[in-house]
Symmetry: D2
Subunit: 341 residues, 4 copies
């Protein structure tokens, strides 16, 4: 079986990463590449690294064209853009993997607060599945619409899920200190993302107000069975891609754990997961360990009633395009690691 896949937003960083991965997928043929271009242009001319590899042109996105040519649509769009095309795609019987934020938050009021405008497709929110395979593999298998998780939430949720699920009632507070490479900001020309403004610099931004925080809170609360509101401070790293999150968890004192017991807990929780790697005691992941791969690596340390969790992933792969293909593999019954290792 060969699946025809259309990629909307193909010239962005996540879009290019999708092209890269799907080129190596034996069961997928890229049937269309779309962007905001006015005239069709050879994709390899816009993105010269694909010269000789991708003969397609990138065209101005039109939902009809996508419906006519693809079985599954990857939407690598800015948030708020997806919800205007998803209804038509679903109606036409297409499967949709949405890399935007539009269907991640189950509560449309929370969405409105986080993204600054009312949701325009509330009915499909309920039908969508949050595309974190480690938590929702069964539902993803049956989904028509997968809301691919945000890059920061992928790390934060995978880094906290075992604790939240097993010891959620003993978590007193959670601080997530997150650092991301610049590709997370996309390809739009803004002064603060110029090379000269990012190179040799490091800065926090959206201090405890980032739009990914409600997504993290939603999933942690769901896992813990009670409201979780972590503190979340993202920072901008002077490098291209990669997210490292250092998470501090204060546990109710009598439930203090040893580093060994925390590691054992995580290893058990993720024992069947192909893309989560738990480090041994005293070992912590670096960004270069996950660069270009779909792995999420986790290191752990307990000191008294404090637990330190360090999570690393590639924001464009496990945090976007790789996870999207992992979801496609689950949706279509392909081996989950196809094209990803």
């Amino acid at each position: 079986m060969i699946i025809k896949a259309g990629i909307v937003g193909a010239t962005g960083y996540a879009g290019q990463a999708l092209v890269d991965i799907l080129l190596h997928h034996p069961q997928v043929r890229i049937s269309g590449l779309y962007s905001t271009t006015d005239e069709p242009r050879p994709f390899a001319q816009v993105c010269p690294r694909f010269a000789g590899l991708v003969p397609l042109s990138v065209k101005k996105f039109a939902v009809k064209d996508l419906i006519a040519s693809a079985d599954v649509a990857f939407l690598a769009l800015p948030h708020t853009a997806s919800m205007s095309v998803v209804p038509a795609l679903l109606k036409a019987g297409k499967r949709v993997i949405d890399l935007s934020a539009d269907y991640r938050l189950k509560d449309s009021k929370t969405y409105a607060r986080a993204y600054g405008l009312a949701h325009r497709d509330k009915q499909n929110i309920a039908r969508s599945v949050y595309g974190l395979p480690e938590l929702y593999r069964q539902k993803i298998g049956k989904a028509r619409l997968v809301a691919n998780p945000g890059c920061y939430p992928t790390g934060a949720i995978l880094g906290l899920a075992p604790l939240a699920a097993i010891h959620g009632k003993d978590i007193l507070c959670v601080y997530i200190d997150a650092k991301s490479g610049a590709s997370g900001a996309g390809k739009k020309a803004v002064q603060e993302m110029l090379f000269t403004e990012v190179d040799e610099d490091f800065r926090a931004y959206k201090v405890n107000t980032h739009q990914h925080l409600p997504e993290i809170a939603q999933e942690l609360s769901h896992l813990a069975g009670r409201k979780q509101k972590p503190v979340f401070v993202p920072h901008l790293l002077p490098l291209k891609s990669g997210i490292l999150e250092t998470i501090y968890v204060k546990m109710r004192a009598p439930r203090a754990m040893t580093t060994q017991s925390v590691i054992a807990l995580y290893k058990k929780f993720y024992q069947r997961e192909p893309f989560v790697r738990i480090r041994e005691k005293g070992q912590f992941p670096a960004l270069k360990d996950v660069a270009g791969s779909n792995f999420c690596d986790i290191g752990l340390q307990a000191d008294g009633d404090d637990i330190i969790v360090i999570v690393a992933l590639d924001n464009l792969i496990k945090g976007a395009a790789g996870q999207a293909v992992q979801n496609l593999n689950i949706m279509f019954g392909f081996p989950e690691t196809t094209a990803l290792v």
Copy 2:
């Protein structure tokens, strides 16, 4: 009055920064440059950026030579090296500004644990003054031996001092997530600090076990009047210099403060400080704001009972050479900002 200054460890990164600053100091003449070189070599040959600016040679360090030529000694040495020469320098009546860690910890047992060997000059620990002008200006003015603070502690202590001093009894827990540029590791050739190993990477190291932690704990405990043991995780940034520390403080709930009240507290605490700048609400420092300068910039935000403190400084300047010259200015009665703005 012209002071003659000798710099030991002059070819290292902090040593070169000292040369740079002292070249612009109207009351100081560099009288000697010392390193581990066997043969004397023109300093400008070892460090070509000083060609045409520094006619001196760098010589193999000999304490006698230093005593014969200098009024004040800057020791930019690895820890444990300073304590073998400080007694002789003090005995000869010299003032000493020690950039190593040897005289920072008041408890020699803590020193032994942190640095892995017994202190060999315990009697001078008591005579030394911790060289953080914002806390110890009076004592520095009379000191013969100043223990110049570590780079991470300078940021962490300045970032927490107002809270610790005024609300110390209401601090429940403190997490210091610290990020430093590579110059903090010095100039020694080790594989993990190669360009290829640091570039495009980001990693935590010495997770809650870094030797600067006892120094931070000592000063915070002193300020708060009770034992403080923050969690401290340093990380390595792919850039040359700069430290940014994001600090999370959980306050006893009824003492929750607003962002405005926290900012007011800090502004008052540092109102006469020439090198501490407090940001307005919603503004946070970036490394590039302090690059090459002796400033320590602090941004603040309160969310419920959580306070987020973001501190930025240049590890080679306010975290080392600049602070050392600030201490020299205080010790010799020069205007404190001389050669530093």
Copy 3:
């Protein structure tokens, strides 16, 4: 004597570098800062690293305001913007140091070709002096209008001047392979200068068509006394500032020189220059040797009839703001190195 200086384009990279240098100039007071801002804003709010150092606001540029408040105007403007204000400034008796390209080319047709539009102030081209002190010190001293050289031309001309002046008739061909940091492109938000597009990349641009080429050709031809048309290929380095140019010169065979004789020629030519440093045989300059300084460093090697010249300078300092202040020092009779070492 205190000179009042106005800086137009103060928030750009060259403008900020000017502020930085002039803050340390004992004979200059910054009287006004101008940009394209609509409302006046505290300069230290736009550029936080100047907090506590510069109390001025930056205002929307108006030539009247500048005339009313300044003795000398630094124009750190895009090319074509300067020529619309220079006539008024000169008429009002002001001295002008123009960092744009508008008055560098003596032939207005060449200007039109290089910059794509006709020159609108031809009469002042003749009155302007090309502000390379190493070649035109006398004229700069008497000039009302100094055309501050481009960053690439500063390096190329200083790197070739001794050869062109002394052996110009024996130069067969010249290839200038130039590499610049990203600050040379300014602060305008364009996609190709995003961090993600420049980091870990290296590329040539404007291959032998760069607008600085006629400027280089003009000065080399003048020095050699006959038309010179070097090949010039600029490249973009993934770093903030610095220019390194590797220049290949083929000499008429019988005039082959040794490395030692070439070095001797250059040392003699630049023997009284405070900001040109010639390296010894086998030593070549690196960008870090000149970072942040007004020096231009030159290394030389002769192999048969080929001469290799390697030139390094900081594009924002010797290639822009530093050279501008060097010109100011000459124009007003201050020691030439004031505020520059």
Copy 4:
């Protein structure tokens, strides 16, 4: 058919790149990983990015062990190390792909001059084939010992081969200005390759004395049918991997070509090559176009009698590991692009 491959020097940068590529090769099984380690260690512990992917241990290299387990040996060793093991490997009937410089130079005296010591296996020099498939595909197919080209020579030779082969007698002079990322220097801990010494810097090194120059000269002379001695200046870029070479060729005047005719010449010369991509007029390759790929991209421009050739490749892939696997594919009759696109 499954080939068993042993990799010597597996933990170096080229070695890791080989592991990466061979993991995706359907006809190759990695049978052994070797380094200088004393005790065997899990490869994924030494190189954590391979955790979950490579279950092998890396062992101290012993030629017997390699002979017993592998059909083909990749030697990713420092030069001079290969020639001490190649004779035994060949005698045992193994195929050898040597990534060191030991068998690239056909003249052992040239080798001695370039590498500073006498060759110890002269008889196998004659049996070796220079592993540049674009020039020696037929011979590689039958070779027992392939000398994998150096990274700089791969770019320089591919960039000049069409000109040298077709118009060699009209080439007057050639200047190769080469720039390489830091991985070219390997993983050895040396001070000048520290992050702090390379970041934000750019420098030339081994100016016209680099050991790759004789390799370039040998192949160009062979192509042109007469002695070629280009000038070659390598530089160090502050990035991980990638080589860009800007090559200036002066042609005998009457043979001046247009840009279009040069591009046509190159396209024809490389028309059947799967890994050489010629750019259209006005387009030049950037390092990011070839990062991580086995492509060598070439852009061309003619201006009068000057031809400018810009070549980009990834030094670890087309410049080392990728080309080595391309050679393996040719040697064993696999499709040449297997595991490489």
